[in-house]
């Protein structure tokens, strides 16, 4: 494909970057990225993916916009309250960059629908807010051999890692073998989160995604970045591939998505 004059202008600050260039920008335009959750993490992530010119962006979220979302979910506006998040998301993304094709999935991701959805994408961003979805997405991405950029936030802390178990790197289960058992999660109510923390981690997910698509820099595969907004520090820990991992280890016990993923709430 050749860029139009408008595209050359729109993406000029990428194109003049030595590590991206015209070739890298073409990879971005050809890329298909699925954002799971159009909430705190998915909002800034989708905005920057669209701005960067990622050609196809999938948005999966079954919720409607609630007034309490707007403190951090910047894909939605006051006028969108009560509307499906994927619809307000589509509106905003198209407004930012009409070149981008937006596909929406107004549904909760589950074991029945996830593999079908993943087929159409090269890379997945997980911005889900429950352990059940997080483990399901991890397992499905492993079976579908799709790189997964995982972000999660809690109060003032964020975690970020790139998972490519099909490529010799660890998966989320290598990092945390199992979700917490039901008894340890007293309820599923929001525990509170600093709004801008979602922005920090969501945007960092896109930085990882762009590096993965274009192929430059050092990936977080094999490491985890832990951000503490209170202390304002970022620390990196090593995440080795676990040979005992139930999913991607030497003797896997999880061989499909038929397991029980609905354990994290416990109520």
């Amino acid at each position: 494909m050749e860029f139009t004059e408008q595209q050359i202008e729109r993406y000029s600050r990428h194109i003049i970057l030595p590590d991206v260039g015209g070739r890298g920008q073409k990879k971005l335009v050809a890329a298909r990225v699925l954002v799971i959750g159009a909430g705190g993490l998915g909002s800034p992530a989708a905005l920057y993916l669209a701005a960067a010119g990622v050609g196809t962006i999938g948005l999966a979220d079954g919720d409607v916009v609630d007034l309490s979302n707007l403190q951090r979910q910047i894909l939605h506006t006051t006028a969108h309250v009560g509307k499906p998040k994927v619809e307000s998301g589509r509106e905003m993304l198209v407004a930012i960059n009409p070149d981008v094709a937006i596909k929406t999935y107004q549904t909760t991701i589950n074991a029945e629908n996830i593999l079908g959805i993943l087929t159409d994408y090269d890379l997945i961003l997980d911005g889900s807010d429950t352990f059940s979805t997080r483990y399901l997405v991890n397992d499905a991405c492993f079976f579908a051999k799709k790189p997964l950029i995982s972000g999660s936030i809690f109060r003032f802390e964020g975690q970020l890692t790139t998972l490519k178990p099909h490529d010799g790197f660890p998966c989320y289960r290598c990092l945390y073998a199992e979700p917490p058992p039901p008894g340890l999660v007293p309820n599923c109510q929001e525990a509170g989160v600093l709004g801008v923390l979602a922005g920090t981690i969501g945007v960092l997910q896109v930085a990882e995604a762009i590096k993965e698509i274009v192929g430059f820099g050092t990936s977080l595969a094999g490491s985890m970045l832990v951000y503490d907004a209170l202390e304002m520090n970022f620390r990196k820990t090593r995440v080795p591939k676990d040979p005992e991992c139930l999913l991607c280890g030497e003797r896997p016990r999880i061989t499909d998505l038929s397991g029980d993923y609905a354990v994290s709430c416990g109520l």
Partner: protein, 96 residues
């Protein structure tokens, strides 16, 4: 003394402190020593059998102790230990 970084959900036990110090020779004795200073901390990090919970990671400097010698990983003065539990959006294990 070993420096220990405390994650947000456990700071209710440390009077809000994000970093504490404790004397210890290995991770096991560190957990006991922390629990002496901050009662209840061990229950949050370990299960009923005293094993570190599978959604809680402990790092010695940058390394996950599961891939060192687990609870028997030795620590020395000046080491930095981090407790990093899994988080998922607004829901956190053990956060009452």
């Amino acid at each position: 003394m070993v420096k220990v970084r405390i994650p947000t959900p456990l700071r209710t036990l440390t009077g809000g402190k994000s970093e504490v110090e404790a004397p210890a020779s290995d991770i096991q004795s560190l957990i006991e020593s922390l629990n002496g200073q901050f009662p209840g901390l061990k229950d949050r990090v370990c299960d009923d059998n005293g094993e570190i919970r599978r959604f809680v990671n402990i790092y010695l400097n940058e390394e996950d102790i599961r891939f060192l010698q687990g609870k028997r990983t030795s620590v020395k003065d000046g080491d930095e230990v981090s407790i990093v539990p899994a988080i998922a959006g607004g829901v956190h294990p053990g956060d009452a």
